[in-house]
Subunit: 405 residues, 2 copies
């Protein structure tokens, strides 16, 4: 299957929007050993899009487009596809009904201008949009199946995985290659790299290391099941304390599952992370069974009055201190009556540093019954990175305490 991705939208060529859709589609296809041969971005320019449909359809079996499916004047993908194929656009009743239902549900009055979005090439096939108003559509031209999806990432992702990929798999007999991702928490990339080099992986198996968002992901791909199994086992046992486990890609999900199993609960007290840790855990559906809540104690008065951090602790040691982190963790655990609790207090920057307390200094407390532990960290990076790394590290400490109990 020779395929290309066409990302449509002037906003991509003036730098207002980074195209993440292509990487998602490319990544999904590469699970089947069918990475696209070309990715190209094109402006909302009628002549150019039509000419691309015509020329690329002679070169590729599949052309996947994203963008230009919305209701506004610069959304012209459907018109261009119709013209390239030599057909008219007309109001597609099924697409219109879907859009109308969605809009009305959101309380938007459907006006005549909205019809523009449902004017699709005559004879096109349709792809359901579970997450938005614009259905996807496809036409066959020259040797190519041209399939047009929305540009909104969440809409495109669901449509691609649930509607488009199954069609491609069937038509081109795509078979999944063996694909294993190993997630490691709180460890430098170079440590993992050194161990991988020693493993002397054969050229049959592709191995990629990605670091980011406070973790290292090792991606293994190929067809040699035994080698991939061996590498996975070696790495996961070598970095046992850091390995997230075979079926998990998210530490918050693992925490929730472990707590559910034990019928236990957790609460958080956040200062410099300002709600980010709570956001990470509540991002997972099902969090409500184990996560009771949290206090974002941004101001010291909240630490004192809501979390019961003693005034003298704040005065003597300051809010960014081991002592304060310890009282915050215990305070929120008592307030919310949970089995576990986590506290974070630190300096995210750019302001707030002192001679003895640099930007990036973060104390993280984890508490369970009579055992409260506080860890001192100094994180690199800007405000966003310090906050993100603090919240991720807190999940790591919590996970380890849950495993130990």
């Amino acid at each position: 299957m020779r395929s290309c991705i066409l990302s449509i939208g002037s906003e991509l060529l003036d730098g207002s929007v980074v195209d993440t859709n292509s990487a998602f589609i490319a990544g999904s296809l590469s699970h089947y050993g069918a990475a696209p041969d070309m990715i190209r971005m094109v402006k909302d320019n009628r002549k150019e899009i039509i000419s691309l449909f015509q020329s690329l359809s002679k070169e590729f079996d599949v052309i996947l487009t994203t963008g230009g499916l919305g209701p506004t004047f610069d959304d012209i993908t459907a018109e261009c596809l119709a013209e390239a194929c030599g057909v008219e656009v007309s109001l597609n009743e099924k697409a219109y009904k879907h859009m109308k239902e969605r809009l009305e549900r959101a309380g938007v009055t459907v006006r005549d201008e909205h019809k523009h979005q449902s004017m699709l090439p005559k004879g096109c096939s349709l792809y359901h949009n579970e997450k938005g108003t614009a259905l996807g559509f496809g036409m066959h031209l020259n040797r190519a199946d041209i399939i047009c999806m929305p540009g909104v990432p969440v809409e495109m992702k669901t449509m691609f995985l649930d509607e488009v990929l199954p069609v491609l798999k069937e038509k081109f007999s795509l078979k999944e290659i063996i694909y294993k991702d190993l997630h490691f928490l709180a460890i430098p990339e170079s440590d993992v790299d050194a161990v991988i080099r020693d493993l002397k992986i054969s050229c049959e198996t592709e191995c990629i290391i990605n670091a980011g968002s406070g973790k290292v992901v090792v991606k293994l791909r190929g067809n040699n099941n035994q080698e991939i199994k061996n590498i996975s086992e070696r790495l996961s046992s070598y970095f046992k304390a850091n390995y997230l486990g075979d079926n998990y890609t998210d530490e918050a999900k693992l925490i929730i599952d472990l707590l559910k199993e034990k019928n236990q609960t957790v609460s958080f007290a956040e200062s410099c992370t300002g709600g980010l840790l709570s956001e990470y855990i509540t991002n997972i559906s099902g969090a409500s069974e184990v996560f009771m809540g949290s206090v974002v104690s941004y101001d010291n008065s909240i630490k004192q009055n809501v979390l019961n951090v003693p005034e003298h602790i704040l005065k003597d040691y300051g809010a960014v201190s081991e002592e304060c982190a310890s009282f915050m963790a215990q305070g929120v655990r008592n307030l919310m009556k949970t089995d576990y609790s986590v506290s974070i207090t630190g300096i995210a920057g750019p302001g707030g540093a002192t001679d003895t307390k640099p930007v990036g200094l973060v104390y993280i407390g984890v508490s369970h019954k009579n055992n409260t532990e506080v860890y001192k960290n100094i994180f690199n990076g800007d405000r966003y990175q310090v906050r993100m790394r603090s919240a991720k590290k807190a999940l790591y400490y919590l996970l380890n305490m849950i495993k130990e109990n």
Copy 2:
């Protein structure tokens, strides 16, 4: 100046890496009204890269490439450019000296394999790399200047802004254009679109609408100062309640500045958003002056015991109700002794819906002294979108209440 960007690297076509370089270059060029006409990604494939250099150089005045300049076997940009231009590669002494100095400073022993990186096309021009080891280089082919930069974003950005852009500005007499972005909150894209259509904007001024993250951004570019001013004024007065204001791109920042000015404070009570609203405001440096803190009252016991929502309210109306939202807002305002407060309670999904309460139903309360208002919303989208839209809408309500007081 007709230009294109070529992002070189197999990792871009298997989805392991999102190409952010192109958007950066495109954004910088569009400030000069010279957005690229094409962005294209290509694998580390010798034949394909050479053929692209040859064909694109007939079509464009400038070809900017990123990637493939490093020391490893799959870094082949220089060889390909040389072959396309019909010249040899040879060891470039200046490039080698730069690399050697950088590596030695970092304590790396320079080996013979490192020379590969300094084998450049004979007769090429050089571009300094302030942040890394690989110099950029350029050749002229057919009508095009081909300029090759490294793929590491921080190296590319500095090289492009300091070395490449000045050359392009000079050669193509690029002049900065007028550039105005208008941000509108809590409004459907189609409403803004309808008004823009009525304005009958001339083709002198480019107008792009982007929707996302709960807001609509209208981008105006051109050289007709008067027209851009007129459009800005018409749009901002037409959507007065939704317009963010001339110097703001972030509603949280505006809220912080308005509260600072009035010497007032705010606190939040979050249920379904689970900390996201707090995260939005604490993401801005300086939030600590006005944001006291928040309670993430995920479990009903926290709503009752920490926020003092009466038990009978939870029993009679449920946690997702106008009444509960009202008590939550007042509860957190009393607890944290703030001038304003916001509460959010709803069903983010995918679970939790009932016959009368669908996924996406969210009550948002805003409270100030004796005035507490609750707004009912039904948001479309998945869990993430419902949470994001709820938090963004809450900022909008808060902003309006602050403006009114």
